[in-house]
Symmetry: C2
Subunit: 199 residues, 2 copies
DNA sequence: ATCAATATTGAATATGATTCATTTTTATTA
DNA sequence: TAATAAAAATGAATCATATTCAATATTGAT
C-alpha cells in the first residue's frame, strides 16, 4: 500500500524538523508523533526506538550530498581544481542546510553508537571523493607522497568540519562560504608539499 | 568542615568516571551518587542539574592541559619548533587521557549549550597558544599572511581534533602519537605557504 | 461480504531526573 | 557541655518521557 511508504517518510520528515530545532536530548517522541500526524506508538512500528529514528535521518541528505558532489566535480580536470570545487561545495552544502548540519556535525558525527551503524559507513562513503582526488594527485605526482594519504584526508576534512562546526555553534551568524578560496589555498599548499617546488 | 570541599570533588570525580564510560545520555544520577557515596538529592545541592554537573567536568583537566602546554613550549625557540611541540603534546594529552577525550571531543566540544558557558570560554583559552604562535610567525615573516589567521587556526585545530575524534570513535585502537611528525610536516608546509620559498 | 493479516492507537508501564519536607550534621553561644 | 540556629544531606514522592502492548481499525484477498 502506498500509504505505508509515506508514513515512514512523514515520521522522518517530522523527526528532522524536531531534532534539528531541539537536538536529540530534548526532542520528544510526542512532538514528533504529533507533527507527523500519528500516535506515539506508531513510531515504534517503524523504528526500534528514538535513537534508531534519529540515526535514520541522514540517509536521504547523504544521497543528496553524494550526487551533488559528483555532479559538481564532473568535467573538472586537474586535481587541485577538484579540491577547490569540493571545498566550495562542502561549505555551500552546509550553508544551505544548516539545520541538517547541526544534526550531522554536532550530534551524529561524534556519536559512538552511530559510528557502529550502516548509515555511518554510508556517510563515510560520501567523502570518498576526497580520497579519490588525493590518490589521483599522488599518482600524477602533484600531491606529496611523503605523508600518509590518511593524514592528508584528516587535513582536508579536519579543516572543513572544524569550520562548519564552529560556525554552527556560533548560530551560523557569518557567511562561511566567503572563506572557501583561502581554505583551498592553504590546503593545496599543504598537499603539494615542498618537494614539487624544488626548494 | 573539610568534608564540604571534598564533597563537590567527590561528585565530580564520580561523574567523570560514569560519564566517561557511558556518555551523558546513559549515565544515571543514581550511579554517580552511589559512586560518590552521597544520596541523589545531594548532587542537586552542588549542581543545578545533570547537565550542569556534566559541564563542570572540564575545568580541572583544562587547567592541566594549559599548564602542561606552557611547560612544554618553554625554552623552545622557532615558530615551527613550537608548532611541532604543540602537535606532539596535543596528541600525547589525548593518548594519555582517552576517557576525558571522549567527553571533551565527542560530547562537550559540540554541545550548543556548553558553547554558551563560561567553562567553554575557559576551554577556548587553552588553545590560545596556537593563536600566539601563529601571530609570532606572521610577525617574523615565516608564516604566510595572505590567509586569515582564523583560517590557519582552523587548519591546525581541525586536523588535530579530527584525528583525535576519529581515533576515539575507533575505540583508540591504534597509537595516535605515531603520526605526529607527519602532521607537523603538512601543517608547516601549509602555514609557510608558497611565497617564502620564492617559487 | 467475510476473514485473516497488518497497521494504528493511546492508556498503562518503566525509567530516571528532579523536588522538597524531614532528618542529620555543623557552627555558635552561653 | 548543652542548647540553638544554620547549613547540608537524605531519599521517598513527584514529574517527565520513552517504550510497550492489548484493543481497535484498516486493508487486501477470496
Amino acid at each position: 500500500m502506498y500509504k505505508k511508504v509515506a508514513r515512514r517518510e512523514d515520521i522522518i520528515q517530522a523527526a528532522i524538523e524536531v531534532f534539528s530545532k531541539k537536538g536529540f536530548q530534548s526532542a520528544s517522541i510526542s512532538e514528533i508523533a504529533q507533527r507527523a500526524g500519528v500516535a506515539n506508538g506508531t513510531i515504534y512500528q517503524y523504528f526500534k526506538n528514538k535513537e534508531d529514528l534519529f540515526f535514520s535521518i541522514p540517509v536521504e541528505k547523504t544521497n543528496e550530498f553524494r550526487s551533488q558532489v559528483a555532479l559538481h566535480l564532473e568535467g573538472i580536470s586537474g586535481v587541485f581544481n577538484k579540491i577547490r570545487k569540493f571545498v566550495w561545495y562542502f561549505l555551500y552544502f552546509f550553508k544551505t542546510n544548516p539545520d541538517y548540519g547541526r544534526l550531522l556535525m554536532l550530534e551524529l558525527r561524534v556519536n559512538r553508537s552511530f559510528a557502529k551503524t550502516e548509515t555511518y559507513d554510508f556517510l563515510k562513503q560520501s567523502v570518498r571523493s576526497v580520497w579519490d582526488i588525493l590518490e589521483e594527485g599522488q599518482k600524477e605526482g602533484v600531491i606529496r607522497t611523503d605523508v600518509d594519504i590518511y593524514i592528508l584526508r584528516h587535513l582536508v576534512l579536519g579543516i572543513l568540519e572544524h569550520m562548519v562546526s564552529r560556525w554552527l555553534l556560533k548560530d551560523a551568524q557569518y557567511d562561511i562560504l566567503e572563506q572557501h578560496q583561502q581554505v583551498s589555498r592553504v590546503l593545496i599548499d599543504a598537499l603539494r608539499g615542498e618537494a614539487p617546488n624544488g626548494s
